[in-house]
Subunit: 312 residues, 4 copies
């Protein structure tokens, strides 16, 4: 299962140009004003091999915010902070089949805890579990962890996106108060949401995301230093969730069509990885009807088929 990087570097620019066309069939997220400004036709990707080689194409330098991609990293941090048992007392392990911000199962399925940490309800609970004396401290810890995985101090909070999230995210407030009422969320709502909004607003590039993916592909070990940044067990948990729930309620289809661990965000970003081999960062702001980068999913499908990436 080795990817031919020579072939890849030759062909990738052409593929990216060709696949921009898919953007026309999707639409940029508009739920917060800042996201609506993203260039509809942008498409960029970086692949970072364990050997150190990287290949980029298209708008790989376009900065974007992590949004839901951040849920993977707060899950890892919460597991490291609190341990597996404490985290899974508060959040389940199952895909839902519902949209990412659904509240149905919180009301319908006892004991009313979120089904998994990659839907909004679950991610909010996970953020509440992070160690830190204040929302600022928790947010800074997330940012430091992201920078550490990225091997780069570039990632930073985009204050405009953060404020935009915080002002408009009434559905997330609704989720959080429901969780509070269900006694799943122990912390106060607004400080918890403050952490959550900040983690969503961490701005990154494809190269940084690819490097983070590579650490996961490498079972949590920094490929440059050989240092374990995340215990292997927790990386396994994260990768499992990425396969079963990483691409919203199109995760099953993505497992069939692409077959690698991935997590998307409403910014059009995607974190993906080929275990043991490489990490991927991708940006393509136009989304399909499930909320995933439309051109991005098509491009990953092409790459997975050509280089035989699927786990299955």
């Amino acid at each position: 299962m080795t990817t031919d990087f020579r072939d890849l570097s030759e062909r990738l620019p052409g593929w990216v140009e060709a696949y921009r066309a898919y953007a026309a069939e999707g639409g940029v997220a508009t739920y917060i004003p800042e996201l609506a400004h993203a260039p509809q036709r942008a498409l960029g990707i970086t692949l970072h091999h364990r050997s150190g080689t990287t290949v980029s194409a298209g708008d790989a330098d376009l900065p974007f915010t992590l949004q839901s991609i951040s849920k993977v990293f707060t899950l890892l941090l919460a597991l490291m902070d609190r341990g597996e048992r404490a985290v899974f007392e508060k959040v389940g392990m199952e895909p839902t089949g519902d949209v990412f911000n659904s509240m149905l199962k919180l009301e319908l399925v006892q004991p009313g805890k979120p089904f998994n940490p990659l839907i909004n309800a679950g991610a909010i609970v996970v953020s509440s579990l992070l160690l830190g004396d204040s929302p600022e401290e928790k947010s800074q810890r997330i940012l430091r962890f992201v920078r550490e995985l990225a091997g780069d101090d570039g990632p930073a909070f985009n204050e405009d996106v953060y404020r935009s999230e915080a002002e408009t995210a009434n559905r997330n407030r609704s989720l959080a108060y429901f969780l509070k009422d269900n006694k799943v969320l122990d912390e106060d709502v607004e400080p918890t949401l403050d952490v959550y909004f900040r983690q969503c607003a961490i701005e990154v590039t494809c190269a940084q995301v690819a490097r983070m993916g590579l650490v996961l592909a490498n079972d949590g070990v920094d490929p440059a230093t050989g240092r374990e940044l995340v215990p292997r067990r927790f990386v396994r948990i994260a990768k499992s969730f990425m396969v079963t729930c990483g691409m919203y309620n199109a995760s099953g289809e993505f497992a069939i069509q692409v077959g690698i661990p991935a997590k998307s965000g409403v910014s059009g970003g995607i974190l993906a990885l080929v275990p043991g081999e490489l990490g991927i960062g991708l940006i393509g702001p136009a989304l399909n009807d499930k909320g995933n980068s439309i051109a991005g999913v098509h491009l990953l499908k092409l790459l997975s088929e050509r280089y035989d990436w699927s786990l299955f």
Copy 2:
């Protein structure tokens, strides 16, 4: 359809004593600490006839808070403030079959507006529609309206209950933010909830509630002064809702077994009325599994059968 008040005044004390026993099968609401202090076996009732005659029995002097009974009065006030069209743009006319604080239909049934004004979601929206420059002003207008219908300046905010509600009502916050996200609630959440919590915390006695019921039984006309306090059309709307949705998701059964317009509250209070004839105020803090005063419902059934009150 005339109630024999002589017979009633003779028998009522005995019935009330006998029906206290039902309290043992129910339980006092515990969701806010203040309500949990209510005396489990209390049962009191006042009936106020259009002629001016009143009959009371049991713990009719026990003060209690309106809780959901207040939803009838804020509905009337909103209709008077804004008119029928404006109110029903924001809230529907249908019973739900779900529990009073359910969010299912807000997510499942487009356009996500509350099904009726007597479930929590609907009542919160109704409160947001009241005229007034501040939560304080709105709350004072509700209180004045309640006093006017009661013909008594006794009703007042119970500050302990109000604070208790405000501190613990996370499910209501969740509902309100969901409504905000659905663009059904135009006002800010916390000021709206402040009005809502205050209206729930208006403390009354059976006599006051019976007098309010009498005004509705009298098509909105103050029986003492002959002055129209509420337009007849709006009273009709309120009575219709009381029949189809007034007793939580036991309204259908109550329509069959008792057959008169009524609205219950989690304090164990019930407002009821026999159209054209009399108003009823009742308190019995022990609730059945649907949230209605368990002894109260049994007592009203007895009275309805004996005096042939059912509309049906």
Copy 3:
């Protein structure tokens, strides 16, 4: 609360002609081929006063099938056959807020029995409770009961509609097997559905339905003979359900706008009544989005307002 029949007989023809226009905003039911043939613009009504006076207008002679209107009569018959306790062990008393053929609450709300006898699930269970050794015998008993209430041997099974129902009613089969699995339906599915399809296919005219409504308005007593055809208690139960659940999930709005017991069918028929006074039969095949005769509902609203019929 007396209706001026002189005024009514003068004005009714003009109103009916004017209200035909509403048909353009609705549509004839198409779920079974036979219903789709109904004349879109038809509108007919008969009112039958307790005194014996009747007034008809428009297409009052157009035959139509009872469809869901039959649910009122099988409920009455089941109550007379089995008693209140046996019936309500199998079916609830609450409106649902869901569409008439919904299965959600059967799965979501334990113990999975239908919420009320006027939704399909409930009506199927009610039909299963009727006495009779075979579907034929049960069906004949229903027909006889309908004829008795109509005071007319005219009502008969429309065999084409019956066959059409039986062939296409897969959603009803699905409901029935679900009920069977929930152990709410004790009888076999197909014989039970055979009874149900037949009762829906009883063909009537407005005059016959008006006469049936009059018996209910008269508390179960045949106004011609003075004989009690249905115990008053069961009539009360039926009228309560007609108010809370009779017009599908527009029952709440109908209670506010019209305020009388009524039951509609997908044929565009409506049975209604003014307690103590008169019965109404109406046909208007074009339906609104809730499944009720669109012109019919508007006409009943007009009549209720003019003659002050509302119970509320």
Copy 4:
């Protein structure tokens, strides 16, 4: 990722004996009488390596019926019969988070097609797509396919279980009629269910199931003959579904704790596989609350951890 078969064959008998104890925490399925007779404490397993080596322990010879495990094979056969496009026009690719026989999403999520082929609704549709002029022919084709994958003519219909299924499966009838009404199921209900009940009633042993799993682990190629029994693409699809939806609504947890493609049945059977390496057949009739063999899941977790099987 190679399993040490010497270590395995030494330790497996001891592990199986020790893990029988888990059966006490679960319960044998009782929904059909035949399943209720299974021995509660039984536990058996066979592992079949690509090299030809097999290891068995415990009650590996206990015959059991495939039940839901058959869904994997009818999916493969339908893909081979009809192609990917035709199959996925009728059934989706997403996990649901609901119980295996839930109907909620059929009503709530348009266009009302089953979310995936491993829940009952999806499997019924898949069975309807199989080529064959009669239920008998379709059933025989399934059986031949199972025997071919098992490399053994042993698998056969258990007629008692088949009749037991057919008589009691009202929930499946309900599902099928719902699908028929949604126009997702084109075939008649009873013949389709006949195929479905027969496939569930195919009786096998651990060795046979392990051999079937091995063919999937070997990308569809018979390891003995080198012949492609199933196209690799379809095997990939099946393996993806086994990971995302194979263990009912505990699939997410199984992905984390065990991390290999697997499918369980209500008989307590499990089909599992380690891609590229080996197939597993397991029987342990006592089920956990999600419907999976309770001892079986624990045993697979132990094996996966010891031999590092997880894909993640």
